[in-house]
Each structure stands twice: as C-alpha cells, then as structure tokens.
C-alpha cells in the first residue's frame, strides 16, 4: 500500500433517514479523507451530520438510515457496500471506535476485563487466557490505574473518566489503523477531559494510527487536530488546518461558531459585551414592586433606583453565611457526607456571581439551598438582609416572589400539557396576581423580552426547540419581577451558538433591569461571558472567590489553575 495514499477516503457520501414525516437527508455529499498518522477533527452542532457520517464509516447506523450514495474507501475496500462479514472483520480490528457516553456504553453485567478481551476473542486473535492478560495490558496503556484489579470489577464500580479509559482500551486493543472517537469527553468533567484527550494523542502516536475526532468544541479541535472539518446541516462547510480555519475562516457559519465558542474566547481580559439590540427593551418587566408586577408604578425613577446599588439598607440581594448541608451516607452506613461545607458569598443587585465546579462539587446543592428548595444543616441565607433560613409555609411562598429559578434541562422544565402562555403566567396564577387580561398582556411582554415571536404563546413546549424552551423558562422566571435569578447550568444542554445567544440575552436583561444572578456552571469558559464575581467550588468547599478578572488572570488556588488550564483552545491565544 502506498504510504502516501490516504487511509480513509469518503467520497460524496449521502445518508438519509426514514422518519414518520418523510425522508430526511442527514448527510449530503460529504467528502473527506484521512491520511496515515493524521488527526482529523469533525466539528459541528447537533444535527450537523457529523455523528451520522462517522457512524456510517463502520455502518453502525440505525435501521431507519440508509446510505443513498457515495463510497467509503478503507484499505482498498468500499465499506459502504461491504458485506456483513467483511464489515465485522474491520470493526474493532482495523477501525476502533470510542463512543460518546461512558455511563451507558458498557454492558452493566459483564466484568471490565471480559468486555475488553471480547475484541480479541471475536476476531480470534487470542484464546481465553491470553486475551485476559492482553486486556489488562490494554487497560494500562489506556491509562487506567490498578488495571488488574479494575478488570475484575463491573462498570458501575468505576467513575466516568475510568469508564472512558476502558472504552479507549476496547478501541485500541486490536491495534487498529484508525481510531474514531465520538465526542469522547463531552460527558466528562473538564479536568478529566484533558487527560483523556492527551492519552488518545499519545496512543495514536505510539501506534502510528490515525484519529478521527468528533467534537462540538472548536477549542478542542484547534488544540488536537492536524485538520479541522466543519459541518453544518449535513454538509461540509469548511476544511483546513487549525490555523486556516480558526484565523482565516471562509464560511459565515465557521465565523459564527468561532465567535460563539466559549473556550476560544476564554483567554485575555474579561470583556462584558454590549447586549445585541434585540435584548434592549423598555422597562416594562420591572413594573411595580419586585414580586408584584401589577402594583402601582411608584415613580418614574423606580427602575433607576433599583439599578444603582443603593437599596434601602445597602444590603446585597442575596447573602449566604457559612452554609452547610449534610446528607446521610447512602445505604444506611453510619456518618454523613457534606455536600456543602462552610460556604459564604454575597450577590449585589444587578451583579452576577458564578459558582463553578465539577460534578460533586456541591454547587447545585448550594443553589437549591439559596432558593430554599432544601433546608441547610446549618448556616444562614439572607435575602435583602432578612434571615430566611428557617422560613416555612406561606412565608416561604412569599419569598419565592423575589427569587426565581431557571433550570438546566429545557426539555424537562416545562409542563408538556400546558400552553406556553399558561407556563409563563403560572407564577402569577400561583400568587393570584392580576386579572386574566393583565396576565395575558404580561405574557406577551415577557415573550417579547426573551425575543420570541408572540405566536409561540399558543404552542406547546414539545413544538419548540431547546433554545426556545430555555427562553420560555427565562420568561417564566421573570414573570413575577424577581430581584434575583438562580440559573442552574442554564446553557449546558444547548448547542454552542444557542448558548451564546442565551448568554447575551441574560446579560442584556441584567443590564436593563438590574437583576442579580446566581449562575451555576461546570464550565469556566461559559461563565466568563457573564460573571462579575466567580466562586470556585470543590468537594463542597469554596476554594477561591474573587472578581472575574482576578480569577481568570491571577488565580491563586491550584484547583482554579487546573480548571483554567483544562480549557481547550490554547491555539487561539497564539496570535
């Protein structure tokens, strides 16, 4: 085989899906090639067809999908037309596949070692004994500590990062020429992500294999790939080296993606962008008093007074003091675990505090304590200087008028049976505020603020996209004119460009109406766009806090530095 010939050559590939609504082209005339030892990153958002293209290579498509045209040449054979046995000979042996979500990609009732060794057994490369041994070796090469012990364990006994390493071991054990990694780190914490990607690089270099990396993160692509391929709506819109694509993007979509990518823009000084024109609205939302949008407008300067931080007592809108939340250990063992350990912070009016941490850091629990959706074990929560820690019953309900919540998953946060209008006005109904006419008018205003067309009011949530649903959730949170919004990972479930829009919307609303935000996120890069102050949490403790500038430019704690280093997209800073 000629060493200059590409390892994999996809030519005019088209894949269509049969759905109840007719045939949909998921992939349209895609052509790309991968050379030996090369790393190619395919970048795109949901529905771009990147995942379908890559699954088509090893023909792991669902039954409803068909390759309608094109060829996939690999080692002299056309995989698009290959027979079952021919494909099976290639899968796992010549092409290794690392799937996306490690929590569900391993058989829960089989031991790790067995699952890794299965590759060798299936291809007849080793007998039972030697395959077990080789499996442990592969696990070690994939970077799994205590490989021999882990091989005897079951998937549920391993953490997400460890499981991903197991999946990598499965992909490389038979020494394939091509490794395909489908978003191998999107389900993992930021610090682990970097280790996994480093390891993949190393393995690939060791074996001289090629790596086809799918990702939605341009930063990752920029760091790791020799070539970047950008896909949108089933087509390739741009290809090139990272320098070419990131610094001289040709296609408008690429430019849009670069502008929206949080990781690429997470270096340098913090810049609070001006909100786009559509986020500017009149001060209708803060009619009346906070918590009572239909009350008499007190003065023309009402909104201005709220914008300045000279509230009646100069108090921050939210202050938590030495919060602790303990949970009993699972399974009835004695002892407790501290999900939140001595956390204190305060949020001024019109300012955003971002709480950042990986999974298990306690940030979500803290948010729920602040909202009084849970009771703290000890410590105090003060709203506007008033201690609300022990509030119950109707007093607690009244508190809800001043703090509202926007949740992480827009696909589950809206009642599927209600119309959008009913959803948005639900808080008003809960407190019996306003006449039906007033409520309807308010719903229309709010929908305007979040930049949705008014026709959306009569729809159901199932008819809206994720980004639209999140806007509805924000509108609902604003309905009662709160003073503080708690946003629990509000953009994590959204695509990159939508993320960007929502963050812009949120900062626009804050600038306009003087709301305070408690913004929870696992992604430091995302937070940069919107935070004034940042708190970093690890294992329940607040490891460091300070202004956004301080955290991003001069982090003091080592953990913070680790988090910052783990943000991909270093290339973008080498200007």
């Amino acid at each position: 085989m000629n060493a200059l010939q590409p390892l994999l050559e996809i030519d005019s590939l088209s894949v269509a899906y049969r759905t109840p609504r007719g045939s949909i082209d998921a992939v349209r005339e895609v052509s790309l090639s991968i050379g030996r030892g090369e790393t190619v990153a395919v970048v795109g958002e949901s529905g771009s067809g990147k995942s379908t293209t890559v699954h088509a290579i090893i023909r792991l498509l669902p039954d409803a999908a068909r390759i309608t045209r094109g060829s996939i040449r690999f080692e002299g054979a056309d995989l698009a037309r290959a027979s079952g046995p021919a494909l099976r000979a290639v899968r796992g042996r010549r092409i290794g596949f690392v799937p996306q979500d490690p929590t569900v990609s391993l058989n829960p009732v089989q031991r790790i070692g067995v699952q890794v060794a299965e590759v060798l057994r299936v291809h007849g490369l080793a007998d039972r004994r030697s395959s077990a041994r080789l499996a442990v070796e592969a696990l070690e090469r994939a970077g799994l500590p205590d490989a021999a012990v882990r091989a005897q364990q079951y998937p549920h006994e391993l953490s997400g990062g460890m499981r991903q390493r197991v999946l990598i071991a499965i992909a490389i054990i038979a020494d394939p020429q091509l490794i395909i990694a489908d978003e191998p780190t999107s389900a993992l914490d930021v610090t682990v992500q970097r280790q996994i990607l480093d390891h993949l690089d190393e393995l690939k270099r060791e074996r001289g294999a090629s790596l086809l990396l799918i990702t939605h993160d341009l930063g990752v692509a920029g760091d790791r790939a020799d070539r970047i391929v950008v896909m949108s709506q089933g087509e390739i819109v741009e290809q090139g080296t990272p320098e070419q694509v990131l610094f001289t993007p040709q296609h408008p979509y690429t430019r849009q993606l670069i502008a929206a990518a949080p990781s690429l823009n997470a270096r340098g000084a913090v810049v609070h962008r001006e909100p786009s024109p559509e986020a500017r609205r009149s001060s209708l939302v803060l009619q009346g008093r906070p918590g009572d949008p239909f009350a008499e407008r007190e003065a023309e300067t009402a909104s201005l007074a709220l914008l300045s931080s000279t509230s009646p007592a100069g108090e921050p809108v939210l202050r938590v003091d030495r919060l602790v939340k303990e949970f009993p250990l699972p399974g009835g063992a004695r002892g407790v675990q501290r999900a939140v350990d001595d956390v204190s912070f305060s949020i001024e009016r019109g300012r955003t505090l971002a709480l950042v941490g990986e999974s298990g850091s306690g940030k979500t629990t803290t948010a729920r304590l602040a909202l009084r959706l849970a009771d703290p074990t000890s410590g105090a929560v003060l709203i506007d200087g008033v201690d609300v820690t022990r509030l119950r019953g109707s007093a607690l309900r009244q508190l809800r008028r001043r703090i509202q919540l926007v949740q992480q998953n827009p696909y589950a946060a809206l009642n599927p049976r209600l119309s959008i209008e009913a959803i948005i006005t639900d808080p008003l109904r809960a407190y019996r505020l306003g006449t039906p006419t007033q409520r309807r008018r308010r719903a229309a205003e709010l929908v305007d603020v979040v930049a949705l067309p008014s026709s959306v009011l009569h729809r159901r949530s199932s008819e809206l996209s994720g980004g639209q649903r999140q806007r509805v959730a924000i509108a609902r949170a604003l309905a009662i004119s709160p003073e503080l919004l708690v946003l629990d990972e509000p953009v994590s479930a959204l695509d990159v460009s939508i993320q960007h829009q929502i963050l812009e919307l949120l900062s626009g609303i804050q600038q306009e109406f003087g709301l305070g935000y408690l913004f929870i996120s696992h992604d430091l890069a995302v937070v940069r766009q919107i935070a004034h102050t940042v708190g970093v949490m690890q294992r329940g403790r607040l490891v460091e806090s300070g202004t956004a500038d301080e955290i991003f430019q001069n982090p003091r704690a080592e953990y913070t530095r680790t988090l910052l280093d783990a943000i991909p997209g270093r290339l973008a800073t080498t200007l």
Binding site: I58, L60, G84, R88, A89, V90, R91, G92, R93, G96, F97, P99, Q100, D101, V104, S105, L106, N107, P108, V109, Q110, Q115, E118, V119, V122, H123, D146, V149, R150, Q152, Q153, Y154, H156, E157, L158, S159, G160, M162, L167, I170, L329, P330, G331, G332, A333, S359, G360
Partner: protein
C-alpha cells in the same frame, strides 16, 4: 479475613430480613383472607344444612354454628384461627368435615405435576419466542412473531383448553380428554395452563429485549465486530432477562390460580378442583386454606428470586458497604452505588407485563 466475614454476616442479615418480611406477608395474607371470608356477610352453615334452613331447627343451627366457632366475636375468631394456623391446624372443611390441611395436602401432588410442567413450557416457549421474534431480520416475520403473545394473552384459558380437547382428543385422538391416569393426560392440560403465562413472559421479555437492544452498549459490542448472535444473546439477553426473573413470583401465582379453570376443564384432581368445589359450596375454611397456600407459594418463589438475583445482577448490593472483591484494595469508585431491594422495580415489570 475481615472482608469475607463482613460479607457473610451481611448475607445472613439480608436473608434473615427477607425471611422476616415473608412472614409478615403471610400473616397479612391471613388477615386479608380472614377479613374477606369471615367479616363479609355469608351464611355457610345454612348452606350446609340444606341452603334453606327452614327444615332445620334453630337449636340444630345454633349447634352447628358453635361447632365451627362461628358464634364467637370476630376478633376472638381471628386470634383463635391464627393460633390454629401457627400450629398447622387450618380448620375443618364445612362441606366434608375433614381437616383442611388434609384436603389440601392430598391435592398438592397432582397440581404440582401439572403446574411444574406448565411452568417449564411457559418459560421455554415464552422466552424462546421472545428471543426469536427480536432476532429475526425480516420485518414481516418479526411483526408476525411479535403479534403472537398478545393473541395468547387474549385467549381465555378455559376456552383454549376446550379447543385443545376438541382438536387433539376428539378430532385427532392423541391425548386423553380428562383424568390423570397417564403421563399423556398431562400434556393437554399443561399446555392450556401454560398459555396465558407463556404469552405474558413472551411479551415482557420481548419488550425488555427491544429496550436492551437500543442501549448504547449494544453499539459498543457491534463496534467490536461481534456478530448478531453474540450481540443478541451475550449482551442483550443477559440484561433483558433480569427484569423477567423478578416476575417469577407472579408467574407462580398465576399458574396456581389457573389450575382452578384447567383442572375443571380437564376433570383432574388437584388444588384447582378443590378450590372450585369449595367456592361452589361456600366452604370458607378450605378457601382460606387455599389462599394461604397460594400466598406461601408466592412468598417462597420470591425468596428464591431474592437469593438468586443478586448473583446475576452485580449492581445490586445487599448492604451499604461497597462490595469487596477478593483482594480488592482499591475502594469502589462508584458515584451512586445501587442499593435497591433485590426484587427491584416490580412496578416496571407489572407495567411491561400489561
């Protein structure tokens, strides 16, 4: 070794707690049957005396009532009978005068044969159909195969038994239509008894398999180059069988109650016939004995499942402490160790069985 002793003592604790719970269930079953049978209005003695009680003198009626202890206040009766049950005395049959334990005791063996064979048929045929239906490629073939279980569930077992008799006893004289004298006489009744249960197993397992086949680890297996058979049996079935196993108690109960109809249709002796007769004669002590018998069978089946299931599903832990495996010195890293009760999700099973 400290690790193994912890393991053993926790297993003992687990077994002990399951046993205790089973006893509570049995006691509760006794209470429920007592409430239903003794607290609700009925007059069994009058029935025994000829249904009409006009030709029986009030004194004779009172004597009969006292003889069966039906004149005492309910609460007293409850404890008296409970005491009897604990001693093994399940009362006396009103219709025959014989001890209930004897009446049931002699009927157990033929029913066990029938139900045992039916169990085997139901499991093998039901599971086999489910595996086959989810394995075949052709869409029309798999649709056809998947359409069979709903058919089986909809067919009344008494009617099916009669149809079997007609086709295989009368039209084609292959098997005897009634009685229990030969091994051949076991065939038709056990097929009739197995039908609804087998269909239910097939439905649950095929739904379970379909779900399992959509899981991500199936893709991983296919990406390894595994062939269809390996993927289907080693990966999908291995996982899909688990919820089906938790159904064993329900299956046993269903088979037992099915004997009432089947033994009647095929004129076989057994628990079912005893029940049918007892209900006909409103023979309360016998009916209560049958109910307790069925509850015991259910409880035993569940106990067996509880003991076996954790061996099959490594995610189930018996205690709070993380599992220790042989020389594992590394603590388990699980984020959420599953500590569910090992008869998990009977709700999902009930839903899927529907």
């Amino acid at each position: 070794m400290p690790a193994t002793t912890t393991n053993r003592s926790s297993t003992v604790r687990y077994i002990a707690s399951r046993l205790g719970q089973s006893l509570i269930v049995l006691w509760a079953a006794y209470t429920v049957s007592f409430i239903v049978l003794y607290a609700l209005p009925s007059d069994p003695v009058a029935l025994l005396a000829g249904g009409d009680a006009t030709d029986v003198t009030p004194e004779q009626l009172a004597e009969l009532t006292a003889q069966y202890g039906l004149d005492q206040p309910l609460v007293v009766q409850y404890f008296l009978r409970l005491g009897g049950v604990l001693r093994g005395d399940f009362g006396t049959s009103i219709a025959t005068g014989r001890p209930v334990s004897e009446v049931i005791g002699e009927a157990v063996s033929p029913t066990l044969q029938l139900a045992g064979l039916a169990f085997l048929i139901a499991v093998l045929a039901g599971a086999g159909l489910a595996v086959l239906a989810t394995y075949v490629r052709g869409r029309s073939l798999s649709t056809f195969l998947l359409g069979l279980p709903p058919l089986g569930v909809a067919i009344p077992s008494f009617w099916f038994g009669l149809m079997l008799i007609q086709w295989f006893s009368f039209q084609l004289p292959l098997f005897p239509a009634m009685g229990d004298r030969s091994v051949a006489s076991l065939v038709l009744p056990s097929i009739a008894l197995a039908l609804p249960t087998g269909a239910m197993i097939a439905q649950l397992l095929s739904k379970s398999l379909a779900t399992a086949l959509g899981e991500a680890y199936i893709d991983t297996a296919r990406a390894k180059g595994a062939d269809r058979r390996r993927v289907h049996l080693r990966h999908a079935l291995r996982n899909a069988a688990l919820p089906a196993i938790t159904m064993t108690g329900l299956i046993v109960g269903q088979l037992l109650s099915g004997t009432v109809v089947t033994e009647t249709v095929f004129s076989r002796p057994g628990i079912g016939r005893v029940t049918a007769t007892a209900v006909q004669q409103q023979d309360i002590p016998v009916v209560q004995g049958i109910v307790l018998f069925a509850a015991t069978a259910f409880v035993l089946a569940n106990l067996a499942v509880d003991l076996v299931y954790p061996l099959l599903d490594p995610r189930i832990q018996l205690t709070a402490a993380p599992r220790r495996r042989r020389q594992a010195s590394v603590p388990s890293h699980a984020e959420d160790p599953v500590t569910a009760e090992p008869a998990p999700d009977i709700d999902a099973v009930l839903e899927a069985a529907r």
